[in-house]
Structure formats: structure tokens, C-alpha cells
Amino acid sequence: MKIHIKNGHLIDPKNGVDAKQDLFIAAGKIIAIGKAPEGFIANQTIDATDLVIIPGLVDVSARLREPGFEHKATLESEMQAAAAGGVTSLACPPDTEPVLDEPGLVEMLKHRAKQLNQAHVYPLGALTHQLAGKEITEMCELSEAGCVGFSQADVAIKDTQVLWRAMQYAATFDFTVWLRPEEPYLAKDGVAHDGEVAARLGLKGIPAAAETLAIASILRIAKETGAKVHLCRLSTAEGVEMIRTAKKAGQQVTCDVSANHLHLTDVDIGYFDANTHLKPPARSQRDKTALSNGLADNTIDAICSDHTPVDDDAKLYPFAEAEAGATGLELLLPLTLKWAQDNKIRLNDAIKHITQAPANILGIAAGELSLNSNADICVFDPKEYWKIEPKALLSQGKNTPFLGLELPGKVKYTLVNGHIVHG
């Protein structure tokens, strides 16, 4: 299959491209940029006039809900959602049922995903058995099975000795440890940012210190053990500042923020909107601004969707009892574009956070439009606004705090390995 994408505006942060350029694809690879190779005859031509061509999005956190939670979402539905969102590579956290702590499970997931022939799926293995924070997993075996890192998903390790050993072991083999920094005792039963809104609504708060305390101990242990750490879902201003300082001091650490947190504050809970029940909670305006600034100066590396499809029933409870999480694969690009618009960020710089930077974190060859790289491509209309509503989403999860909003950026074509998977 030979494809010619013509007349589009090419943005490729990795190679510093921001210009009108044609792309030529053959055998799943990009074989030419700008000028057609001699004798190239396309089987299909995509007219990208007024459209933007970027590397396929790389999402460092998307829950596909398989195995175990097929009533919330299936691989089929979520891979379609990924394609519709322009996401061509994604990492999925290990909090499935059973937990991704055995090579067989990882192989099965990889195999299922491969059969669907859509986005590349990169599982994160569990750092500890059952995520229970007691025994470390067979990281080498899991890595061979296809895990690209080791994560505790939303479950913090309480025992610092175990955390220390887990990081030491991971460091031995140069595996990256993925942790969402949250001190479990301070965060216990909390469902909202500990501030005025929680006080008014009578919701149990999670203080910012729950994040900063965890960051402090994780960074310290990482330094002592030499482990590479990726910190997931930053939510506080102080947390961003701590990582800024650590990076300046030369520590090997990366981090991400969810697209939700670039737009929401605790005020958006409104009258107990269960769709705004997220982990970590959306915090204050000051925190939101700090997250935005952290991205702008590259303290925060990546924006992720933190895609968590929840079935409708699980949201039909009072706020605290409603399951946390929001659907996100199809919103990652629009929310990133909106963030860039609102904060006057160059498109090139914004796109980097959902392509090149997350690919670097995962250590995968993706997120770029280089010559001979995989033809994983997203073509979108930056000017088209679309309304976020259940029927507009392919994900089985229709839960999002942005329901009813119109957001910019409609994906027109998604290509994985040179195949059109959407469009």
C-alpha cells in the first residue's frame, strides 16, 4: 500500500519541521518527505489541504480495561477510540483483573492488541505482585514479554523498604519505575482537593502535601538506588517545583500530567458532578497554572489522556462512591490544542508533549515523522470544533468532565504502520 498525503501542514517536533510538506508512505514506512521518490505511484492519495499532519499520538496512560473489566470497555472499543483520537501508541497501566504481574497475561494482551492491528500497545507491568506492595514481580520476564516499564498504577507502596528494593532491582536492569506520587495515609478516603470547595461540599480532601511528601521520598529513594523514575499525573504547584529542582540538579526523572488537569479545577465539581471525580483530584487555579507553566518549560514532559472508561452505572452514586476516572483517548488532542490556544503555546511545542516526549519516556521508536520511521500518523483539522457528547465518542466510556463542550481539533485520518485505521 502506497499512500501520498498531500498539501498538508507538517508538524514534526522531533525534526523541527513546521511547514507545508507532502508525505510518501510505502510498506508501512515513511519513504519520502517533501518530494515524491522517483517512480512513486500512490494507491491512495489523502488530500490534507487545510489539515495538519503530525506523528501519531503517544499516550503514556490509557486503560483498556482488559482483562477483567470488559463491561466497562473492551480492547476492540478502546482501540477504535484510540484510532479516532489519532493515538497510535499507548501504554496501559497494570491495574487490570488479574493484575498484569505475570508474563503470560502480558503476552496475551500484546497478542490480542496485535490481532486488532490498530495502535501499538505497550503494557506497563506491575512493580509488585498484585500491586500489593509486598513482593516485587519478575521484571526481567515481564520485560521479555513486552513490558516497557513497571508501575503501581494508583496503588501506592506503603512500605518504603519494599519501594527501595523495587527501585534497586529495577535499576539493576535499567527498567523505568512508574509511580503516581500520593502518600496513601494522607490521601485515605479523600476524593477532592483539600480546599474551599471540599470544605463547602463536605467532601473529604486530599491535601497537596500527599503529593509532595510522596515525590520527596520517591526522588530520594531513586537517587539512592539509581533508579529511573517516571512520575505520573502531577497535580500540585509544589510538586512541579520539586521536579523542576530535581531536573536542574541532574536527576533522571520524567513526569506527565493528564489533559484533564490542564483544564479543570476543584470548582468544576460544581454540584457534585461525578464525572469530575478523578485521581488525583483537580486542584486549585494556582495548581492548574503551575502545571501549565511546568509543561511550557518542559519540567513536565508529557500530556497523557489518563483514559479511564467507566460504565455509566458506576457513576450513578454520590460523588465519593462514584468510580473515579474519565474517558480520554479521543480528547487528548483536542484538550492539548485547547491548552495551547489558551496559553499561547506554539503548536509545535504543544504537539511535542503528545508525540516525541512520551515516546522518549517509553523508550520506543515513535512520535516522529523521520525518514524510514514507522508511518504512524495523525491528520487533523485544527479549525474544526466538535461537541463532546456520548454519541460522538467511540470509547465505551462516555464519562468525561467535558461533556457538552465544543473543543478544537477533529482527527480526519489515523495511520498505523502505513494502514489507515481511521478516516
Binding site: G195, Y271, P318, F319, E321
Partner: protein
């Protein structure tokens, strides 16, 4: 975001929280309550305002006083009343709240009085019910207990009509108290110039001062020259643990005794939403003393609840 308690004409549709209600509506309820006070004095303690209507008391959490007063209020308005203690029936069989609501709606309930242990439960139900049904929040988690807040300000208005010239202290576990939150909003909405909260730091929510209150940790300072002392109940499970060392120490530091009460104005009134823990948050000498208006609060509670139901029914 539209206030879910008001309809398009700005009239009360549900009573979910005092927060966000205009002063006009609060006064409308309080004035109506005034007119219902007399009903209890009559030989036939009934008015026909809710005749033919079905009021459903749904208690997902235990309550005696609130449930009983709502029941009496509905009956005095001639409504048919069903009271369900759901904590002991369908919930334990795994039925969701909204399923329970749908079933009762199918039985043609007109009004739900709901108590639930989770903040936001009443809002969720109000969002779900058919347009002709009204929901009254009888307490949701730590969030709100609007009829309690209303009966408290009604009581204050009875004894201290000059609301614009009052200093009110709320003492105790504000963190876990839906009563405190509703009282604070009712008082500030009605123009009480100084509302104080008095508690140890462990029993105050973060940023509580943003609700418009002055924070005191020392009760002897906090009670100085106040006109009204509103005590809060301390739940048993909080008397010892990480929030407080013991009920004895709590009584010593924050319990209201006759001696501490002398710091308030000589004609200050003492209130408590009940049920009281004598010797923990309040000394019996004060609870039963001349400045206590704790029992009148209960009586007024019926009139206030009648007023709310009657207004919601369109009267």
C-alpha cells in the same frame, strides 16, 4: 451553572442546601414557618395544604429526631406519609439509590425527604427525579442539612430578631458537620455580621475561613461577647483517635460549661441540634439552664419543615 434547587422562575424546586439560596427565599420559608407555629396549638393539629400528596421519607442513614419531625410536619399538612429506613431494607439487597427512587416514583410519590451518609446524595436524586417531584435534603454526609440550618436561624430570629447586629459562635466538630455548614450559610445569607467557629485544628476543614467565618481555637476568646452559642454534636467514633485524644480532654477544652458561658453576653442563647452528649460537648447545667433554647428548636423544627414542604408543594 444553574442552581438545581431553583426553577426557571427562581422559585424553590428542591431544598438541597442553604448555599446558593437567596435571602428572599430564606425569609419566605421563615415567615411561612411563623404562620405554621399556631397549628400545633389547635385542637385539630392539621391544615389541608398537602392533602392527596404522598411524601416519602427515605432514610439511608439512621435518624430519630429529623425523621420524626418530618413525619409529623407532613401529617400536619394532611399528606400521606411513608417512611422507609432503607439502610435496613433494599440497600442491603444491593439495590442502588436511584433504583429505589424509581420504584417509589412508580408508586406516585410527590416528594422525597432524603437522608444519606454521602455528601451530594440529595443532589444526585434531585437531578434524577421527574420534574413534578421535589426533593428535600434531610442531611447528606458532611455537606448540608438545610432544614436544620433553617430551624436554627428561625430560633435565633425568635429570640434575637436583630439579625444584623449579632455575633454567633459555632462550637465543635465543624469538619464532619453538615449542620455547621448549613448554619454558616443561613447566618451569612441573612446578614449576621459575625459568625465564629471554635474548634481544634483537627476538627476544622481546610480553608474554612473562606466560608465567611472567623476561626478561633480558644473557646474563652471565641465566646467573648457572643449573642448565640451553637454547639455541635461530637460523634462517638471521633472522641478518641487521631483527631482528639479523649472525650474528657475535649470537654475540658471545648465543652460548654456554665463558667465558660459567662464569657458570652449575659442574655446569650445556647443551641444544640441534638442528640446531645452531656458531659462531652455540653454540661447538663447549661443544656437544661435558663439560656438553653434546645427544646424550642425541636418544636420550631416542625413548623419550619411544614413551611418547606408547603412551599415546595406550590402553596
Amino acid at each position: 451553572m444553574q442552581n438545581p434547587q431553583l426553577n426557571n422562575d427562581g422559585k424553590l424546586k428542591h431544598l438541597l442546601s442553604i448555599e446558593g439560596l437567596p435571602k428572599k427565599i430564606l425569609n419566605q420559608i421563615l415567615d411561612a414557618a411563623e404562620s405554621f407555629l399556631g397549628v400545633a396549638e389547635r385542637e385539630v393539629k392539621k391544615v389541608p395544604l398537602l392533602r392527596g400528596k404522598t411524601v416519602c421519607n427515605l432514610f439511608f442513614e439512621n435518624s430519630t429526631r429529623t425523621r420524626t419531625t418530618f413525619e409529623i410536619a407532613a401529617k400536619r399538612l394532611s399528606a400521606d406519609v411513608i417512611t422507609l429506613n432503607v439502610s435496613t431494607s433494599s440497600q442491603s439487597k444491593g439495590e442502588t439509590i436511584l433504583d429505589t427512587i424509581d420504584n417509589l416514583t412508580a408508586m406516585h410519590a410527590d416528594m422525597f425527604v432524603v437522608r444519606h451518609s454521602q455528601s451530594g446524595a440529595a443532589h444526585m436524586i434531585a437531578k434524577h427525579v421527574a420534574p413534578h417531584i421535589s426533593v428535600i435534603n434531610a442531611g447528606d454526609g458532611r455537606h448540608a442539612h438545610p432544614t436544620q440550618g433553617l430551624l436554627d436561624v428561625f430560633t435565633i430570629r425568635k429570640y434575637k430578631p436583630e439579625m444584623h447586629n449579632l455575633r454567633v459562635a459555632i462550637v465543635g466538630d465543624v469538619l464532619h458537620s453538615r449542620v455547621a455548614r448549613s448554619e454558616i450559610h443561613a447566618l451569612t445569607t441573612l446578614g449576621v455580621p459575625e459568625v465564629r467557629v471554635i474548634a481544634p485544628k483537627t476538627l476544622l476543614p481546610e480553608d474554612v475561613e473562606k466560608l465567611g467565618v472567623h476561626v478561633y481555637h480558644d473557646i474563652t476568646e471565641g465566646l467573648k461577647d457572643v449573642d448565640v452559642v451553637m454547639m455541635l454534636r461530637l460523634q462517638n467514633e471521633r472522641m478518641a483517635g487521631a483527631m482528639l485524644p479523649s472525650s474528657q480532654e475535649y470537654f475540658k477544652t471545648y465543652g460548654l460549661t456554665a463558667e465558660k458561658l459567662t464569657l458570652a453576653k449575659p442574655d446569650a442563647i445556647v443551641m444544640h441540634p441534638g442528640p446531645m452528649n452531656r458531659g462531652v460537648e455540653i454540661d447538663s447545667a447549661v443544656a437544661d439552664g435558663p439560656q438553653s433554647v434546645i427544646l424550642p428548636q425541636v418544636t420550631y423544627g416542625i413548623a419550619v419543615r411544614m413551611a418547606v414542604m408547603s412551599i415546595l408543594a406550590g402553596n
